[in-house]
């Protein structure tokens, strides 16, 4: 990868797909990520849980370089992508991101939403991009929606289109930020099914989620964030059945009290 070569020397010691090394992020005086370490292996699925405001979204946005970090480093395939002054566009195209509020482009139909990235960023021809898009849409049960506009779709359909839009770029890993949080309860299932499918395809994923039972089911590891710190990280069994940290226990207790687990 020429981008990688340009980005700096590969550190042979770093074998993870994505690695955060002591990442600090501040908004003004406020430290939102406080020396966060996290390493995501190839094909691993990691769920980020934690109260709202704990820094899950910020962490994901930093990984995608949508937010510059203040200290530490982020490595993709062992290459420091957080190096100041590095061109961010070639890195972002390798990372897929899906947002809580779908963020589809409302003035484009579904097909255009899905093909614009491959065409403008990867330089694919319209024909090639459209064939690929139709295939992907069919896989996710959206074949008949290609000509529809986002506001003609249900929330679940819109979120599936957003996932397809990210997948059309053939990303090496996916960052998913509370992708079911804006959905009506009966629509959550169809979106979670898509994620189950992606896990079967061995996609590397980092998800911020409030769906605890889903996190338990799909994760290889679960990370509990509290006030910008990765407070505890471990297998889902360990985190949910046998949390070590008192703050993790407290958080899970609150989730249970709210009837969400």
């Amino acid at each position: 990868m020429t981008d990688a070569a340009a980005a700096g020397e590969t550190d042979a010691g770093r074998t993870a797909k994505l690695e955060l090394d002591s990442v600090v992020k501040r908004f003004g005086q406020r430290t939102v990520l406080d020396h966060v370490d996290l390493s995501v292996a190839e094909s691993e699925v990691i769920c980020l849980i934690g109260a709202s405001g704990s820094g899950k979204s910020t962490l994901l946005r930093c990984c995608n370089l949508l937010e510059p970090i203040d200290d530490g480093a982020i490595y993709l395939d062992g290459v420091d992508i957080s190096e100041p002054g590095l061109s961010t566009d070639p890195i972002r195209r390798r990372i897929g991101m899906v947002f809580q509020n779908y963020n589809l482009f409302p003035h484009m139909n579904v097909l255009r939403n899905v093909t614009i990235g491959p065409m403008k960023v990867l330089g694919q021809s319209t024909a090639v991009a459209q064939v690929a898009a139709h295939e992907l849409l069919a896989v996710f049960g959206l074949a008949d929606k290609a000509r529809a506009y986002p506001d003609q779709l249900s929330g679940g359909q819109q979120q599936r289109v957003a996932i397809v839009r990210a997948l059309a770029m053939k990303p090496e890993l996916m960052l998913l930020d509370e992708i079911t949080a804006a959905l009506d309860p009966e629509l959550v299932g169809e979106v979670l099914d898509v994620i189950r499918g992606l896990k079967q395809e061995r996609m590397t994923m980092v998800l911020a989620t409030h769906e605890m039972s889903f996190a338990r089911e799909i994760s290889d590891r679960v990370a509990f964030l509290d006030q910008g710190v990765v407070c505890e990280i471990g297998s889902p069994q360990q985190i949910f059945n046998d949390p070590v940290e008192p703050r993790t226990r407290q958080f899970l207790q609150r989730v249970i009290d709210a009837g969400r687990l």
């Binding site: 972002r92 963020n103 482009f105």
Partner: protein, 278 residues
């Protein structure tokens, strides 16, 4: 097949019919009052004679079509230049790169200055001032510099409209586009600008309606467009009816434009899902 109306629907229908009847009746009463009572007022004969003289009106309407077409032409070449100028200003005010800071500063000052001075003053300043400087016969034509003044000042207004449109597109759209790997230029071109322009069509139309009327200000520079022609005819007939004829001509263009704007606004409101509360 028609299903019989429910009680509620019948009620709605009756209410609607009644409101329509009331509106029609009150309109007729007011109109009748105007038609009957106005001629009875003491000054009416004089007013009618100097503003609404039938034969002069007919003559003027025909006579001023040519000059009015001149106004329309000025409008037609100014409008695209203004849209382009406005868009450029909006971009210039949005640049973030420190090297381009002077550009940003310039466009900010430009906008303030051109919006802060009455249009008539710009037309006088540029329309009389620049030809005096140039002393060239071709470049000295008043209509050219009048148009330049209109374009320069209106670009400032339209630039602000575009800028507001660009800023109204939510940050999350930018994040979505950038996360696909689009450059900031691609993001602007394919994601932000198309949405911004759609939103500012109604306010832009408003500015175009004003422009269409302000074209007449060029008359102070001398070209025989409709307002000046009306002035000439007024002097000829010792009568104000030519001005009324000019007004009628302007209305013929601006009323359809305004109605279209309202229609677009309403469609936008419907699209965004707001309904009127009774």
């Amino acid at each position: 097949m028609t299903t019989p109306l429910t009680r509620r629907q019948r009620y709605e229908q009756r209410t609607k019919r009644r409101s329509f009847a009331i509106a029609a009746a009150s309109t007729i009463v007011v109109l009748a009052a105007v038609v009957v009572l106005l001629p009875m007022t003491s000054g009416w004969q004089k007013v009618r004679h100097s503003f609404f003289d039938g034969s002069i009106l007919r003559f003027s309407l025909g006579h001023m079509l040519g000059p009015f077409w001149y106004d329309v032409q000025i409008f037609l070449w100014c409008a695209p230049c203004i849209l382009l100028g406005g868009l450029s200003l909006a971009f210039a005010r949005n640049v973030r790169s420190p090297a381009l800071f002077p550009l940003r500063l310039f466009s900010t000052i430009y906008t303030d200055v051109f919006r802060g001075v009455p249009m008539v003053l710009w037309i006088t300043l540029i329309g009389f001032g620049v030809p005096g400087l140039l002393q060239s016969r071709n470049l000295g034509r008043a209509v050219i510099w009048g148009s330049v003044a209109l374009i320069a000042a209106y670009s400032a207004y339209v630039g602000e409209v575009f800028r507001a449109g660009i800023e109204s597109v939510h940050e999350s759209q930018r994040a979505a586009a950038r996360s696909l790997g689009m450059t900031s230029t691609q993001t602007m071109r394919h994601v932000i600008l198309p949405q911004a322009i759609r939103r500012v069509v109604p306010p832009l139309m408003n500015d175009l309606v004003s422009l269409q009327k302000d074209v007449a200000l060029i008359s102070i520079l001398g070209p025989v467009e409709v307002l000046r022609q009306a002035g000439i005819d007024k002097a000829k007939f010792f009568n104000f009816t030519p001005y009324v004829a000019a007004a009628v001509l302007f209305l013929c263009v601006s009323v359809p434009l305004t109605r279209t704007t309202d229609h677009l606004l309403q469609r936008e409101r419907r699209r965004t899902g707001a309904t009127a509360v009774r």
